[in-house]
């Protein structure tokens, strides 16, 4: 981020009228902290740029201490609190919050308290201690606390992360929630078919849990969406769409109540396919016009089912919108045709993107070509503005990364790997984290996770670079296994 962009970001945040002045200062402080933290990874403490930035941070700190007795930041359930007030992030500062939350968690820090009188030296020492620690290592709080004290930092306190904040078996739980969602959907679809009530409160709990896991470990959840179960395609697909849609909704700054409605809408967006004969859904050859007409009825059928369901249960209205509109294109073509042409609902536009992406990256009997995740995004970006809402698609592409999580890639080292995490630094979008699955000779291995942003200290060049996205099915690679393996290992 350029200095100008940073200033813009700070200015925009500061301009939000609803924030208390001190909360605005706290957000400014976090933005500045984020800048210095990243500088600290590159520079030495005596670097002039670093020094200037620290001075600015200190000025902000003094401002805050003029109004508050201390400046305490706490991490609670993946949210940042400043002196008891939750700091909300929007689309523009999402990256900063995510970065800071991730760093706090990695260092097992539950709170940082800056007391009045904190000096520039103390700030410098503290930030360097945090930033210069081995980025890959899982670090203990005790060691850090001792180091802080040893460095003579007295006016900054750190508190350990509460046990309740530490997600044990995170991947295992994410995977469980994923399967439970499929199971619950299966149950719901069967109940609907038999005119029984769907357990919507359970659906809500599952959406809540999916959201929580996205907050905890976004990349892993998106990795799970690589699972393509051909027997229960619609169920599997619906859960994938839910995870991707909730992730996109979160990125654009929807509130929790909205995310809940969005998640429920995504869960049930294909409910209408219950009425589509399996032989048409799975027909290997192309569909004739009559069969196509049958397929194209599913949005209406789904909407109708949800409409009747809504009469008895507290189903969000948007779920009906989404069921009806998720095949309406941005240029208002698509299907079904409307009585009164009007723009699709925001949630329908979000679900459409997630739905399309998951659909074209899934091998289906009738689909001649299966797209890799990167190809799928490219293809979708070509239809930006006509098929998809361009800005939502842009956010979606940025969420999944240039090489989307789950992409099977060939590196310039001749190793092959699976993208398991994006790099939060915008300039490193082409340098995700990759789980190595073969060595340079093509021998399959259960390799480590390689950060493609890592450089060779001797040459200053990147150690590995992606040169090609490969088709996993062609080489017998089941991408989802590599994600589920993480869950299984921890269990």
């Amino acid at each position: 981020m350029t200095e100008q962009a940073k200033r813009r970001s700070i200015r925009r945040l500061a301009a939000r009228p609803e924030l208390r002045p001190v909360v605005r200062s706290a957000i400014d402080l976090l933005v500045r902290f984020h800048i210095i933290y990243k500088n600290a990874r590159l520079f030495e403490p005596n670097n002039i740029t670093f020094d200037v930035q620290t001075g600015k941070l200190l000025d902000l700190m003094v401002d805050i201490h003029d109004q508050e007795s201390e400046a305490a930041f706490h991490l609670r359930q993946n949210s940042l609190f400043f002196n008891g007030t939750r700091l909300k992030f929007g689309f523009q500062n999402y990256g900063i919050f995510k970065f800071i939350v991730d760093e706090l968690k990695r260092n097992e820090i539950g709170g940082i308290i800056f007391y009045p009188g904190v000096t520039g030296d103390e700030l410098r020492s503290f930030i360097f201690l945090l930033a210069k620690r081995d980025a890959r290592a899982k670090r203990s709080f005790v060691g850090l606390e001792a180091a802080v004290r040893a460095a003579g930092v007295e006016r900054i306190d750190i508190e350990p992360i509460p046990l309740s904040e530490i997600s044990t078996d995170q991947e295992k739980n994410s995977a469980k929630v994923y399967f439970l969602s499929i199971l619950h959907l299966k149950d719901s679809f069967e109940r609907d078919r038999n005119n029984e009530n769907i357990r919507l409160e359970t659906s809500r709990r599952l959406v809540q849990s999916i959201y929580n896991h996205i907050v905890d470990n976004e990349s892993f959840v998106y990795g799970l969406t690589n699972l393509k179960n051909h027997d229960d395609y619609t169920l599997n697909h619906s859960v994938n769409v839910c995870a991707l849609a909730v992730g996109l909704g979160r990125r654009i700054g929807l509130q929790r109540t909205e995310l809940m409605d969005l998640g429920i809408s995504a869960f049930f967006h294909d409910l209408g396919k219950l009425d589509t004969p399996k032989e048409i859904l799975e027909k290997p050859a192309g569909l004739d016009p009559d069969e196509r007409a049958v397929i194209q009825k599913h949005p209406h059928q789904g909407a109708e089912k949800l409409l009747h369901l809504r009469e008895f249960r507290n189903l969000p209205l948007r779920a009906i919108h989404v069921a009806l509109e998720h095949h309406i294109r941005e240029d208002l073509s698509g299907y079904p045709i409307s009585f009164r042409k009007r723009e699709a609902n925001l949630f329908s536009k979000i679900v459409k993107i997630a739905d399309y992406f998951d659909a074209i990256t899934t091998k289906r009997a009738y689909r001649a070509k299966i797209f890799t995740r990167a190809e799928a995004l490219d293809q979708m970006l070509e239809c930006s503005g006509t098929e998809f809402h361009p800005l939502l698609l842009k956010v979606f592409a940025s969420m999944l990364g240039r090489y989307p999580i789950g992409s099977f890639v060939l590196l310039d080292s001749w190793e092959m790997g699976i993208v398991v995490d994006t790099n939060s630094e915008p300039q490193f979008q082409l340098r995700p984290k990759v789980k190595l699955v073969t060595d340079a000779e093509g021998n399959k291995i259960d390799g480590d996770e390689a950060d493609l942003a890592e450089t060779d200290p001797s040459s200053g060049r990147f150690k590995r670079t992606i040169v090609r996205v490969l088709e996993p099915n062609k080489y017998g690679i089941n991408v989802s296994d590599y994600f589920f393996a993480q869950a299984a290992v921890r269990s």
Binding site: A175, E190, T257, R340, L346, D412, I445, T465
Partner: protein, 628 residues
Amino acid sequence: MAAEETKNQIPSSLREQASDSAGRSTTGKIREILKLLSQAVSTIKIYPSIHSSLRTLIDELAGRFKSFLDEHGAIEIGIQERSFTYAGQPVFRDDHAVRSLPFFFFKDGMQILFFYPGLDRQEIVEFLEIIRRESFLPPDEADIVNALWEREFGNIQYFAPDDFLESRVLKERDEWAQQMHVVESEGIVLSEVEIKVDKDNFGRGRIELDAEDRVPAARSDSASTEIREVESETDGQAGDQTGAESPLHKASLNEPEIERIEFMIRSNRELPPHQEYIDLLIEILFLEDSLPMFRSTTSVLEQHFMDMVQRGEYDQARLLVERARLLRAHFEQEKNTSKAARLDEFVKFARDEKILAVIKAQILSQDIASPEGLMDFLRTFGPSVLQVLAEVYERIENLDFRRLVLEYIRAMAREDFRTAINLANDHRPLLTREIIGLLFDLKNKKSIPFFANFLNYTTKDIKMEAIDALGAFEDETANKIILEFMKDPDPEIRTRAALRLRYLGDLGRLKQMILQAQSREFRKKSPIEQKAIFTYLGKSRTDEACRYLKSVLMTPSLLSPKVTSLRLLAVDALELMSTDGARAALDRGSRLWNFKIRRACLQALEAVAARSARSEGQDHLPPEADAP
């Protein structure tokens, strides 16, 4: 160091006692807080949060929370089936099956509840409100964890692990499987979700890239260069990465784009949900092929319409009918008569008496949120709604709504005055008087015969209003009805009628009045009524009337005050008449023995002369006096 030394000087047993005592005191405070919390929950289920006793309770609870949180920091409450724990110790228990607060949290899988410093009264109130709301929901719709998650409190957090969700989903699945005799497919174990991956496969085998995929790898150098160009302007050097803004980064959202997204979200929040729902219903009906499903969905339409009416959402109800009519027109054009007919049924339903009965009840209970909205909605019913409005008119307290109703009746009356007349009723004095007023305003003489309806009314005010209106018509038919009013048992009505009677050249009517004045009954009438009739005669300015009045004037009183009074009334009428004959009669009267009569005649002559002088200047007849 000093503190350490002091600590060492205290015997360990005493130190333990002090520590125990501090622990007990902390636990005691928590116990008190939880007791208050439970009391507040029970109270808020009965009273609103503004109720004084609840406010006191909440104030105390907020105070206790603050004092504890300031002193000891965050509170972590363990949740057991029927009890709360603090620091591993039970601190609160409630075994009551329904009201138990610990169970209320426990049943939804909550294991820990956290309260953090900064918790304020407002958050406590909202927390209590959420508990109240959830506790009133049907069991299968309530979930306190969902509710707290959606509210996202700053200083109240909870811990509810996924294990609970797992057991809930599996239990539901198990119940369903048993009910439907479903045999689960392999891989689903109903006691636990298992994740099985054979990791050994990861290390087995080799991947041989095909020719297509090998090409770029062979050109890895150039590919790297290409990517470097995309990455940054740093020539692949890691050192300069922080300052550079890569083209990809530029491809991320810029400020106007962020604002557009924020605008989209705001607009989405502002969409009126009912309007959206109506549009959806119509779209779903439009797409429906199956007639039975079409019928079923129109039932939803009907139910939704009724719900909206019951909730007082009249604008939306009106919109729904409008949209249904549009769709009906579409089906009619498409020659889809079955669907058009079904929509006709809906429109009929929307105009049904049942709907009007609901609205009537709402008006009577003074439950009118939007007078304009309600009136706009009622207008869609057309004239059939007027009877309902007339029935409730007298009891409408909302003056805005009453005004709107009247405006509507006025508008309808302009089209056909009979519509308004039909609404008049002896038991609706307010409305009926308004109707008379608006008939008068309309000045439609065709409405005059309908005034005869008021003759049989018992409400005096209505009759008076009708007489006044009739008088203003200056019409023979109106006079005829006024004459009928002159037979009313109520002297005031008769008087008013006589006053409003106009001479319009009908000698027969005049003679009828003279005969009435000559009758024995006339003598029994009140002086005011007698004067009113004489005034009519005076205003007629006819010789017949003059002759009669003169005869009354000349009748000897014979010490009868009643006769004298009647003669004086005749003087007044002659003065009003002001014709030559009248003046001559007055002149004769001024020479009679009776002092009162003589004086009255003289005064009348003076008045006539003065009026005559004035009128000569103005070249017109003296104005008629309307009132005695």
